[in-house]
Homo-oligomer: 343 residues x 2
DNA sequence: TTAACTTACTAAATCGGTTTAGTTTATTTT
DNA sequence: AAAATAAACTAAACCGATTTAGTAAGTTAA
C-alpha cells in the first residue's frame, strides 16, 4: 500500500494531472470534464484512498486551510474552553488549528505570530499580551486576517471580541453593596491588561455610585508569578487591620480559588466574616465551600464570534469595517455573598 | 515592506538561491561557502527579517516540523494540561503542534488521523477512542512515528504512556476499606476504554484482598452523554436501598464533581453518610466541600514522556523497541473519606 | 606544464500539488 | 464548405523552498 500521489492517479487512469486535480476540487463541471471521466476519477480516488498533500496544495494555492491560535495558556480553563469551541467551529468549515501558548511573554508572542505567518496560516486568533503593537500594526498593514479576543489594543483599530469587563465587575460590586457590605476589597493582577483595567474601573465605578470613595488600600495588585503567596499577603493585609474589609472581589478565577484557600487557612468564615466574588468562573465553583458567586463569561459565544468574524475576513477580499463585539457577562449568584446584612 | 523570498535575498546579494539556502540552514561550512559570503547572507537575512515559507520548506524536505495531537477533548482539564506540557516541550525542540479533539467519536478520530497525515505532520500523539485499530495498524505498517497516551490498544504493540490505573483505584479503595468502610460503590463510565476497565479491576481487586466480594449492584456504569442525570440516578440507587453504600469511588473527575453536587442535593453528608474518592483530579478539589481525596495523575511526567518518546522516534531511522511507560499515580488524601470509623 | 585537487560557488531538478493558456476534435452557424 | 463555437481535454508554468550534480578558477603535485 504505497502512498498515492496525484500523478499516480492520473497515470493509472490515463488522464492528465490537471483533470484529476480539477475534478477532485469540484471544478470538473465548470471546466467541462465529461461526466464519465469525472466519475472514473472520483471513484478511483475514493477506492484507493487518495488524499492530497496539504503542504503542496497550500504552497500552490497560497493558503493552508489552517488557522493559528495564540493564547496565554492552553492549560487555563477559560482559554481551553474557548479553544475547544474555536476548534470545533473551525473544523466544521474545513480548517485545522495550530495553537501555541505565549505564557504572557510578549517576545514569545511576537515570535509565535511570525512563526505562524511563515507557516502560512490563513488567519490568526490572538488573546494578546498587549505588548506587541508593532506586530499588530504589521498584520493590519499586510491586510492579514486576524481577530483578537479577551485582550485587545484599545488604541489600535482591529477586529476583536471581548466581554463587558467594566459592567461585569460594576454589577457584581453593586451586588455586594446592595447586600449591605460596606468595605469591599479588590484583589487583582498588576496592571497592563485591558480587561484587568476595565474590571478595576467597574469596581471603582460601583463604589462611586454608592457614594463610597474607593480607598487605594483596598485594592491589591498581584504579580502573576508568585500569586499564591501574594494573594495570601493581600488577604491578611485586607482583613487583619483597623478597617477590615467585609467583602473581596477577585478579578480572575485563579485569584478567587487561591483566595478561598487562604481564607480557609486563616479561619475566616465566608460569607459571614467576608463575602467573596469572582470574575470568571471555574466549573467547580458551585461545589466549593461556599459556592462562589461569579461573573461568568459567555465562552461559547466568544468562540463563535471569533471564528465567524475571522472566516468572514478570510473569505472576502473587499476591505470591510472592523468588527468589534462586546459580549455580556452573566452574574451567577451563589452563597459566597450571603444574604442581606442587617448590621 | 513586501514579503521577502529566498530568491529576493539571492538577487539582492548577487549569489545563488543555493548559497542562501545552505547558509541559512547552517550548512555553509560543510559546503565550503566562504566566511565573507556567509556573513553577508546571514546579516542581510537578519536585517530584512527573512523567514522561509514552511510549506515550501516542508514540501521539499518531506517534513513539516509539526506534530499532531489528537485528544478526546481539549476543554477537559486533564487533556488541556497534558496538551500544555506537550506544546511547551515541542516548541523547545522547534516543533509546532496541530491539535484536534475527537469528542470520543472513532470516525472523527480516524478522519483526524488521515487529515494530520496528509498535512504532513512529522509525528502523532493520540489519546485514542480505542476504536481505530485499523488506522493504528496502518500507522505501524507505514512506520509512521506515533505515541499513544492515556488510552492504548492492549492487543497491539505500540509506544504508549499511561498511568497505573489498576493500582491507583486499588490503593484508593483499600484506603477506604482501611478506614472501616464496608460497602464501597463504584461509579464509572460504560466499558470500552482500557483505563476505565483497569480502574474497575483495581477496585474489585481491593475488595477481594479484603475478602469482600464485589457486588455487581454496587457498580454503576454511566453513559457519557447524559452523565449529569445518570450520576444522580446511580447515587440514589446506591444510597436509598436496604444495603446502602458507605463510600463511593468515582472513576473520573467529572463524575466525582457531579457526584458531589448530587450528594449535596440529596442532603447526604460527606464523609459521614458516605465517603467519596475520585480518580483524577480537578484543581479545585482542595477547596470543594469536603475536599476530595483523589488519585492524581502525573500530568507533567505524562507530557514529558510522550514528547520524549515521539521525538526519539522521529529522530531515528533505525527501528527501535516499542517504548511503553506506566507512570505512578499519587494518592492525595483529603477529608472526603473522614478518618477511621469505629462503627 | 599538465593532471589532479580544492575552493567557492551555481543551474537545474525536485517536492506534489494548482492553474493558465492552449490544443484537438466535434458540432454549429452562415 | 468555410468560419465560428463548443466540448473535452492537456502541457507546462508555478508556488518557494531544498538538494544533487555540476562548473570555473585557483592550487598543488608529479
Amino acid at each position: 500500500m504505497k502512498k498515492l500521489y496525484l500523478k499516480d492517479v492520473a497515470r493509472e487512469l490515463n488522464v492528465s494531472k490537471t483533470a484529476v486535480s480539477l475534478v477532485l476540487n469540484g471544478k470538473g463541471d465548470e471546466n467541462k470534464i465529461s461526466y464519465d471521466t469525472q466519475q472514473k476519477i472520483i471513484n478511483f480516488a475514493k477506492k484507493h484512498n487518495y488524499i492530497p498533500n496539504q503542504l503542496a496544495r497550500g504552497l500552490s494555492r497560497g493558503k493552508s486551510e489552517t488557522i493559528g491560535l495564540i493564547i496565554p495558556n492552553i492549560s487555563d480553563t477559560f482559554y481551553s474552553k474557548v479553544a475547544g469551541v474555536i476548534e470545533r467551529k473551525a473544523k466544521e468549515k474545513g480548517y485545522t488549528v495550530l495553537f501555541s501558548s505565549s505564557y504572557e511573554d510578549p517576545k514569545t508572542e511576537g515570535e509565535l505570530i511570525l512563526s505562524m505567518l511563515n507557516r502560512q496560516v490563513d488567519g490568526l486568533i490572538i488573546a494578546s499580551t498587549q505588548q506587541n503593537k508593532k506586530e499588530i500594526e504589521f498584520l493590519k498593514k499586510e491586510k492579514f486576517p486576524f481577530v483578537l479576543f479577551d485582550r485587545y489594543y484599545p488604541e489600535n483599530e482591529t477586529d476583536y471580541v471581548i466581554v463587558d469587563n467594566f459592567y461585569g465587575t460594576k454589577k457584581v460590586t453593586e451586588h455586594l453593596l446592595n447586600l449591605g457590605r460596606k468595605k469591599v476589597g479588590f484583589i487583582t493582577l498588576k496592571p497592563g491588561l485591558e480587561p484587568i483595567a476595565q474590571r478595576l474601573m467597574g469596581y471603582k465605578e460601583a463604589l462611586k455610585a454608592h457614594n463610597l470613595t474607593s480607598k487605594e488600600t483596598y485594592v491589591k495588585e498581584i504579580g502573576r508569578e508568585e500569586y499564591f503567596s501574594e494573594v495570601e499577603k493581600a488577604i491578611i493585609d485586607l482583613t487583619a487591620r483597623e478597617q477590615a474589609v467585609d467583602a473581596i472581589v477577585f478579578s480572575t478565577h485563579y485569584l478567587a480559588s487561591q483566595g478561598l484557600r487562604v481564607l480557609k487557612k486563616l479561619n475566616l468564615k465566608v460569607p459571614d466574616d467576608v463575602a467573596i466574588v469572582s470574575f470568571d468562573e471555574l466549573s467547580a465553583f458551585d461545589i466549593v465551600e461556599p459556592p462562589v458567586t461569579s461573573v461568568v463569561q459567555p465562552v461559547n459565544e466568544i468562540g463563535y464570534s471569533v471564528i465567524e468574524i475571522l472566516l468572514n475576513k478570510i473569505g472576502s477580499t473587499v476591505k470591510t469595517e472592523f468588527q468589534t463585539r462586546v459580549l455580556k457577562t452573566k452574574l451567577e449568584i451563589r452563597s459566597s455573598c450571603g444574604s442581606f446584612l442587617s448590621t
